[in-house]
């Protein structure tokens, strides 16, 4: 695909809605990621961020989950219209994915070398020997010491950080255009998290990889992403470049989330907590799903769902935005 001067997005999710049976899981979710861009999708458990990510590769069990609306455009092609065979050609090839728990994502009985070679042999038609030597290069690229020796190791012989590096090597083996990272550092220690995030950051800068980073950690998003989308109860409630988004949040939920972080408060003082909890799917009401927990609700918030309204490079779905 030839690039037009205005750099068309690598991924464009357009008004995507998913349901499990008759219960809506995510509603009207849109986001775009350009080449070399790192975009964050952030929210608490059950907000729909992982479901959104998994739907891009059609990795959700269908049924019970159904796509009830929208499109997922990858380099201009709607992934929702593709045959299973055409999708299989894209998975692990043009789109790579890494998950939170590298131990359960790697096959415990295969060597590291076999697991990195597999996509190279399937998608790029490499011979076993060529794939093995490419696998060693990839291990070197992701910072595994003594890569040739590491090829014959099994996952249990590696530490958590090294396993996540191997997952990244597999995900980028076929030089994908898009990397989807679902909580890639949540299971890792903070010093190792910094190493792994620095690696992902380097890869997207060097290879122009577009990245979708799914996480609950606002600090990681603020540090590494260009833009972020905040999800609450299955909808995107606010989006924008990370610096203004977290410095001057407009949605009352983003505002409350940022304010409640311990590092933003004086030690020992009570934190400005958010009362209540996230409503589960099926109990989100017809108005704003955050209205019950909101610090400044209006009458219309309970009755009428706010739409995502754009202004400059930001957008917010709130009837009574802060500042």
């Amino acid at each position: 695909m030839t690039e037009t001067p205005d750099r068309p997005p690598v991924l464009a999710i357009d008004a995507l809605s998913l349901a499990a049976g008759s219960v809506a899981l995510i509603d009207d979710v849109s986001l775009t990621i350009g080449p070399g861009e790192m975009v964050g999708l952030v929210g608490e458990s059950g907000c729909g961020k992982s479901v959104t990510a998994l739907s891009v590769l059609r990795l959700l069990p269908e049924p019970p989950i159904r796509i009830t609306g929208g499109r997922i455009l990858f380099q201009g092609t709607d992934l929702l219209t593709l045959s299973p065979k055409a999708l299989a050609d894209i998975r692990g090839n043009a789109i790579g994915m890494i998950f939170q728990e590298p131990m359960t994502s790697l096959n415990p009985v295969l060597t590291i070398g076999d697991q990195i070679s597999e996509p190279l042999m399937i998608h790029d038609g490499m011979s076993r020997t060529a794939a093995r030597s490419r696998a060693a290069e990839l291990l070197d690229l992701v910072g595994i010491p003594a890569p040739v020796t590491a090829l014959s190791r099994h996952p249990h012989q590696l530490s958590g950080g090294q396993r996540q590096r191997v997952m990244i090597a597999i995900a980028i083996a076929c030089q994908p255009k898009l990397l989807i990272a679902d909580e890639p550092t949540t299971a890792l220690d903070v010093t190792v998290q910094a190493q792994v995030m620095a690696l992902i950051d380097r890869l997207r800068r060097e290879f122009g990889l577009a990245c979708l980073l799914i996480t609950h950690d606002l600090g990681v998003v603020a540090q590494y992403c260009d833009r972020a989308h905040v999800m609450y109860a299955g909808r995107i409630v606010e989006t924008g470049p990370v610096m203004p988004l977290f410095a001057t949040p407009q949605h009352r939920y983003t505002r409350a989330l940022v304010d409640t972080i311990p590092a933003r408060n004086p030690p020992g003082e009570p934190l400005p907590a958010i009362a209540g909890m996230v409503p589960p799917p099926g109990a989100r009401g017809t108005g704003c799903a955050f209205a019950e927990r909101c610090a400044a609700p209006l009458d219309r918030c309970q009755a009428e769902r706010p739409t995502l309204t754009e202004a400059d490079d930001r957008a917010v779905a709130c009837w009574n935005p802060s500042a």
Partner: protein
């Protein structure tokens, strides 16, 4: 800090060593010493496998320490047996990370919260249970419900109510908010802070999360590879850490979102490598292989904790 008061808990040279079937020794906790004053919160921070959880369990004698001494209110806790041990344990209670695994799914909340009272032969009735539930911000009628009916944050409240049943003087909280979402985490941190103030509880607060530790602690102890490598007043450890490992930890935390703070992750100073293999402990300082300022002498012997004038103690040959 309350220097003039006798410590509530005094730990000296605590060890926990495991030996496997082949005679291989694994040093989970080594030579850990600290005092905890009544009403004081000591934060224990460190990465996976540093021994912080084993330390908490060894202090409760959920695993038996293999060396050292633990004094609680001046009495030797490790010597106690039978009824004396049971009596001493009233004063120290534990709160765990996983509020799903810590509550018996077949028992109603009232039975869970009242169980310590039953075990210790104290009077237990609906009023006492209701008072405990009220203390943690839950209505009395939850006593008739089962744990699965509650969210993670509510379950952690139930676990805290149970820990408070015997009016303990010390709470050992092992990652009490790590399994919770940000908005729920702050509710539980506020509850813990409030209870500490109202009941004068001393706490050992174990966590891998530096910003949480900073928020709740009076003093902070940093553990690495089974040992305390730095201990001191919370603001001192946080603002001007003395050990290169603590400095590396601080450098790896992302900045608070939305602040123009330049102290976010400094990609130049990210330490390479990972924690050593516990089955093959290095000689000398365990941080040697990752340390940016290592010297040959660091490999000679494990550096001792040296305390400076402002109450900070650091186990590093470069610190003075």
């Amino acid at each position: 800090m309350t220097d003039d008061l006798a410590p509530l808990l005094s730990v000296k040279n605590l060890q926990k060593t495991y030996v496997d079937k082949r005679g291989q020794r694994l040093y989970a906790v080594q030579d850990v010493s600290f005092d905890l004053a009544p009403g004081e919160v000591l934060g224990i921070v460190g990465e996976s496998g540093c021994g912080k959880t084993t330390l908490g369990r060894a202090l409760m004698r959920l695993v038996e320490p293999t060396g050292g001494t633990v004094e609680f209110e001046g009495e030797d806790f490790l010597e106690k047996r039978g009824a004396a041990l049971k009596r001493a344990r009233r004063d120290m209670q534990m709160v765990f990370q996983d509020p799903f695994g810590a509550l018996n799914p077949r028992h109603k909340v009232g039975a869970i919260v009242g169980e310590p009272l039953v075990v210790h032969g104290d009077p237990v009735g609906p009023d006492r249970v209701a008072a405990l539930l009220h203390l943690v911000g839950l209505p009395a009628d939850v006593a008739d419900r089962f744990p699965h009916e509650f969210s993670g944050g509510q379950r952690q409240r139930i676990a805290i109510a149970r820990a408070l049943a015997l009016k303990p003087k010390l709470i050992i909280a092992d990652e009490p908010v790590s399994a919770l979402d940000v908005s729920i985490q702050s509710q539980i941190l506020n509850l813990i802070g409030d209870l500490k103030d109202r009941l004068g509880l001393a706490m050992l607060f174990i966590s891998h999360d530096l910003s949480v530790i900073r928020h709740v602690s009076d003093r902070i102890a940093v553990m690495y590879f089974g040992r305390i490598v730095e201990i001191g007043p919370a603001n001192r450890v946080f603002d001007d850490p003395g050990h290169p490992y603590t400095q590396a930890l601080m450098a790896a935390i992302p900045a608070a979102p939305g602040t123009a703070d330049t102290t976010g992750v400094d990609t130049e100073t990210i330490v390479a490598g990972e924690v050593p293999d516990p089955a093959a402990p290095p000689k000398g300082c365990a941080f040697y292989a990752r340390c940016p300022i290592r010297e040959d002498r660091c490999q000679a012997a494990v550096p001792a904790l040296v305390e400076n004038t402002d109450g900070l103690a650091v186990a590093c040959v470069h610190f003075s």
